[in-house]
Homo-oligomer: 193 residues x 2
Amino acid sequence: MKELEERIVSEGTVKAGNVLKVDAFLNHQCDVELFDRMGEEWARLFEGKRVDKVLTIEASGIGIACIAARHFGNAPVVFAKKYQSINLDGEQYVTSIHSFTKQKDFHVIVSKKFLSAGEHVLLIDDFLANGCALNGLIELCEEAGAVVEGIGIAVEKGFQGGGDSLRERGYDLQSLAIIESMDDETGEIRFRR
Amino acid sequence: MKELEERIVSEGTVKAGNVLKVDAFLNHQCDVELFDRMGEEWARLFEGKRVDKVLTIEASGIGIACIAARHFGNAPVVFAKKYQSINLDGEQYVTSIHSFTKQKDFHVIVSKKFLSAGEHVLLIDDFLANGCALNGLIELCEEAGAVVEGIGIAVEKGFQGGGDSLRERGYDLQSLAIIESMDDETGEIRFRR
């Protein structure tokens, strides 16, 4: 998506350690008009797919998922919650993920009330790097018996491999911008074509 | 807002310890059509006010704020982040809040880049009880020199007093449903008229 790539180039900054900051429009300050056009683009890319529910993970996926869901027949959005420790009462689907950004393990949970066998789910998130968070969401869907109909990502860091591994496993993954390489010394960002 | 009150009665559950669960449509599963009508209602209630920016706090405020912002000329949404510990590098406005729900203290931060002196800000959140989270957002605005133009809340637990104390301080607080009392034994919920 050309508009998103242009915003990444003009407002993003590359930091040491493979960090791309796009907090001016994506994940701290949110450009809701851009989110709406991202939703429109995913609706085009996933045309004809059945989407009963949109699943994302707190916190920065939520705004994007809510606005995108307006383009999928106002499908309900469920956001998985992250906890460092939890009391399991059997009413949640639970998995664990490792966050490389925060160097911590998290439990990721969704209430069993809001994810059901046979539901067709679109996963939405702001970033895809190693794929840990997304793999967590996929595991929650598997546990529920829900069908992962597609995965919509705003920014994929292609060079970290998480996206290609999901494509190899057969998922319909649509990233609106895929970064092939970036350089924190020159600030250069190259996109995959 | 009648529709919201009806949803609270039909889908909410009252739990011991003044807990109201509305996770079926507000803060775990999100009804984006309802969010849109809530945004419309706030736009009516705050008509004529200048809103340069919408400020909320992660996680459950984000979806509501993003959809509501579409009714305020697509104003950018900034969500404050919660951390238990932070490295202060001087680039953030920081305050601390106590969460009664989680029995923990949090730092609440907003990057200085995204909140500026003279900006007119609409605060949006899903819940208002004691007002700790909102007071944190107000302090961040004061630190930045931004003007709190109004406060839009989905569900106010009126009997916990946070809302009335903000009204006494002169804030234009518009809660779409105000719970006057609720009973976890009978499940009865009464709204303020």
